[in-house]
């Protein structure tokens, strides 16, 4: 099973994390002197990236490294599974990492609930008859 755990210090913005072969969370960086709610460029999207360690349960001897990344005020983070990137639209076209990054860049200045809503709508998940309860 893949797994990603992170801990964010809301005062300092320091994030500590470990990754057991899970999708790397995406970050949208709020630019210097940019309003928190301002629209962002496509290249504002980055990801929390380190070479992942093995999946959970593979070996009791696995050592999981922990890493740090610094957040600034206004940065946004999206944690996701391959359940979203494996979605296909009505034409059978993959949403993929690329689709997720493109829509995140467009809506990163929204609040968290509306970022989620926009991603799910764009992913094609709902167009294939699925619902969210």
């Amino acid at each position: 099973m893949s797994f990603h755990v992170l801990q964010i210090n809301s005062q300092s913005g320091l994030c500590r994390y470990a990754n057991a072969s899970h999708e790397a969370p995406l970050i949208s960086r709020c630019g210097v002197d940019q309003d928190v709610g301002a629209e962002r460029e496509r290249d504002s999207i980055d990801c929390i990236l380190q070479k992942p360690d093995a999946t959970l349960g593979l070996s009791v001897d696995t050592v999981y490294a922990d890493y740090e990344v610094q957040f600034k005020r206004g940065d946004k983070i999206v944690l996701y599974t391959d359940g979203i990137t494996e979605c296909q639209n009505a034409e059978g076209k993959d949403f993929g990492d690329s689709g997720l990054m493109r829509i995140f860049a467009k809506v990163a200045h929204y609040d968290a609930a509306n970022i989620c809503k926009a991603i799910v709508e764009k992913s094609g998940f709902l167009s294939r008859g699925n619902t969210i309860s």
Partner: protein, 162 residues
Amino acid sequence: MTTDTNQLKVHKKRQGSQLFVRLSGHLNEFSKLEVEVEPGIDAYCFDLEELDQINSVGVQVWAKMMTSIPSGKQMEVQRCGLRFVNNMNLYANFMGFHSVTVGSFYAPYYCEACDDSRRILLTPEEVRATGSLVPPKKNCSGCNKLLSFDGVPAKYFMFMKA
């Protein structure tokens, strides 16, 4: 019962001590993937051009097959798709214990003018030639305008780091 309408097909061709394996369709919970491991086969080459999808269960099917191949063999994958590359980057045990050569792979690009995505076949050599694992410049096959890379380069090219 759910079934897969595009089940995995495994096409094998042996030439001397080399086994060429071409996969097509979907690699998932319905897939059976085994390769011959008899003596006399020294090299395995996988053509993944037509491997359309690989889900999280398919990743385990692939890793199990890789683990079944004895160590010390020459291993190469060619024309890897986007999902395959993502899995190479994601799963520490995706290639089993083998050192695998990536001959070529597809990368995601985007054409702003056509407002459409493009898959471009790259080789590790041409990416390394950029000096710092940045995407090589490519033009749109439709309008010939410069494409933008449609991903995070440091993430997508991570499999090329030592």
